[in-house]
Amino acid sequence: MSSQYLKKLQKQRLRRDRRVAILITSGGWLVLVALLMLIWHLFSVSAPLLGAPSLKQVNSWQLSGTGNALAVGNNAFGYYLYWQNEECTSSLVQLSQEQKSISSQRVLRSACAEKSQIISLQNELYLADLASEGRLRVYHLSIAPESSPKKQLWFSVRLPNDIELIRYQKWQVQITRDLVLFTAETPDKQSELLAFSRTTRELEYRQIIENGLLSATADSGNTLAWLPSGILKFGAQDNTFYAKEFLTKPKRIIQSPGAKSFYLLYDKGVEKFTFANQLGQLSILKQFSLSMDTSINDFKLAPSGQTSLIFSNNMVHWLNNTTGELMTSEALVHGSSYRYLDERHLLIAHNDKLTKWEIINPSASITASSLWDELWYDGYQQPDYVWQTSSASDYQQPKYSVVPLVLGSIKASFLAILVALPLGFGSAVYCGFFVPFRVRKYLKPAVELIEAVPSVVIGFVAAIWLLPIAEKYLAGVFLFILFSPIALLVFGVIANKWGVRLKNGWELIFAVVCIASFLTLFELAWSNDSHGAHMSLLHQWVDSVFELHANKNTLVLALALGFAIVPTVFSIAEDAIHEVPKSIQLASFAMGATRVQTLQRIVLVAAMPGLISAAMLGFARAFGETMIVILVSGNTPIASWDLLDGVRTLTANLAIELPEAQVDSAHYRILFFTALILFGFTFVLNTIAELLRIRSRRNFGSLK
């Protein structure tokens, strides 16, 4: 073996060692980074919820002449704008498909003598025309980019003769699903409301309304009229009057897309009201009111109805329509008219410039209040904690309170702990302290075998097999569990009286015998007699007491979830009890204490940190359990501390809703936020439990 070769070999060895070190170090860091990325990703998706939305200008165009954007519509060629230059000239501006440029601007000439109003309904434009001879005409405008808009007469009616048009200066037309509404205001501030049928053109409704206001028609086809004494709702099916005394006359009344609520806009404030129908009693309830320092120039409701923009003093404010909170964003925006193009884009006109703005971070309109407060939702009688993110109807106010979910998780875990702690601790005490080694060798793995059963199997059996049984025997099972310890007590007394001595480990057999006999007795007392017609007295009595309160889902959930976490509690508690140093136990026995005394005074005290740790870890494990909860509970989010109500936990909610949520929507981000809550909670609990365990080990580390 030449020394040359050996020398080379040694160099190779060192080099390989270094290379391996680099490989392992980078591999190790890669893995750790991947795990940390998990946490980071959760944060990064939820983080946008924290900020506030803002506006960014993305495009601007020059138009001929200054003016106002009165309406925005959508046709096959893209968006178009009804633009009023001056009193008598309006034009239609067609934006290209991607809204990157203006493809045309056509001028519609209208005679100055005629006054007209543009109405936008469900992406269609209508032009209302009031001729001096008292004829009201409504034209439908169809827009094509390269040609002039076509005016097609759509509705025409002659106003009643007694209406003196000369006196009416301000008039307004709105279209509902089957009505055309006309209001006009006289110089002495009186208003008259006329409602014509769209189909028959007959005057169906006429009323003097003092100081009335008409709202724009929502896509649902409803229009609201504000009266000092209440709100008139011209609905798709019918007209209803909701009585409520209003003190001040608002500047505008604006309807929510779903028509369940509306806003009253004042000079320096906004109020939101909801329609409520309580057992046939129609009422209007105020959800929130907002007051500002400066006058409101304009108020624009987003197409989805969840946020509003308030333009005041050249500042833009975001209003969360659910919580009533105002978020101020930076930009000073000069505008004379504002229009929502779609949910994410805004058109602002100023002088002769038309600008398009993009809304950055719309999810940030969700605030802590949206998630945690008791809010007054549309259509509700009072504020409540609700989680409801989807519904059958078109316009649905999403309700994002995480309170029901958090409560649900806590309740479910608490129920599980109720079952698992006695079982787990009892078994741990028995297994770790009373039982001789050769029995423990088999008992401990036997209980830990439960851990190996997949939770989906436990959930399945609980849902399919246990639930029907519980339905039938609910009260019976409950009582059985309650009275078994007492029965055992009685048996213990009897056994003692008869001088039965029990060797170590044989108590188990005795306990089995006791339970078996108790079960038989119970069954006999409980079951129906042979004819099946009369229930035993015991059964009847119990039914009358418990029928009203018991909920089988809760009981089965407690049993199934508790059963699933018993091995966690058992394992750690048993270790804690078993690891209490023999030396101090022996010292206790040497001083004449009984087994139970040593258990109570020495062992349990020494193992206490471990026992607490076991309870915490069990709770954490139940908190994070998904499958059992989905399969067994009713999955209804209810915010109440009542244990017998249905629950929906954070985990079940994620599994059910996340696959359907749209990426980067507020719903999506909020779900990630709940995942973060889950993560944080279990992480903290686990850390505390681990620290407790380390401390207990340190306390007795020196002893053997």
Binding site: M1, L6, L9, Q10, R13, L14
Partner: protein
């Protein structure tokens, strides 16, 4: 009777060819704690040197410097020089694994690898890259013979090493170290975990090793030091108190501390 100072002087006057290990102003810190303070001595070749002292005085740390095993402890700071074969092993160009294959070590607790006896013995050679079975076999037989274990295990070379008794395991571990044919063999309390009979066997073994190897043995057993070693170094609290030929050290210790330790008044 030779003069005490003569004995010490003769040790100090060793030439490099006669010196196996020379320690020059060696100081060692683990973090803030100083374990060794300014130690200088020369260990002659082909002899047995014992290092004695009370618990925690730095004996194991000192020999840990000779094969740089102390590097494995974090925050280890070394000042001074340790010269093996006239080369400073704390110099920048030292190949540590090679050094360790040249300076063997045996620990207090027998620590055979969970492999067969044969594999244990040839482990060091395999590491070095030697794969030729004949060479390995030869080396194994030689080493086991030197460790006085060959006769006992020659028929069960491929049994796991765990089946051996404590004393046998320690001898196996010595054989393992010897298989690399190190010039220097460091023994850290090699017999303190063994029974008296095994202890004697190992002491005999050590004695026979000095023909071809330089042995440094750390021991807390003064009788063992007196029996086995040629020169003895007495360490206390990281400082070298006295270093001279064994017979003079034990009969006429120069320093009062040494005398107090040897007579059992402390430590």
């Amino acid at each position: 009777m030779p003069d005490q100072s003569t004995s010490q002087k003769s040790l100090k006057a060793l030439s490099p060819e006669q010196t196996a290990i020379e320690v020059r102003n060696l100081s060692l810190r683990f973090g803030k704690k100083t374990a060794l303070r300014d130690i200088s001595l020369k260990i002659p070749k082909h002899s047995i040197t014992a290092i004695i002292g009370p618990s925690g005085c730095g004996k194991s740390t000192l020999i840990g410097c000779f094969n740089r095993l102390n590097d494995l402890t974090p925050d280890c700071q070394v000042d001074g020089k340790v010269l093996v074969n006239d080369k400073n092993i704390y110099g920048s160009r030292q190949n540590v694994p090679i050094l360790r294959s040249q300076v063997g070590m045996v620990f207090q607790q027998p620590n055979p690898f969970p492999m067969s006896i044969y594999e244990n013995v040839v482990y060091g050679l395999r590491i070095k890259g030697i794969t030729d079975r004949r060479i390995l076999d030869d080396a194994a037989e030689t080493a086991l013979n030197m460790a006085a274990l060959w006769d006992e295990v020659k028929d069960s070379l491929f049994q796991p090493a765990m089946v051996l008794s404590g004393g046998q395991q320690q001898r196996l571990v010595i054989a393992r170290a010897l298989a690399l044919e190190p010039e220097i063999l460091l023994l850290d309390e090699p017999t303190s975990a063994l029974d008296p009979i095994s202890t004697l066997q190992i002491e005999e073994l050590i004695f026979g090793l000095k023909q071809k190897h330089t042995v440094v043995i750390v021991t807390h057993n003064l009788q063992q030091a007196a029996r086995v070693s040629d020169q003895t170094a007495f360490l206390n609290q990281g400082e070298l108190i006295e270093y001279s030929k064994t017979d003079t050290m034990f009969t006429m210790p120069l320093k009062q501390q040494t005398e107090a330790f040897i007579t059992g008044r402390f430590g």
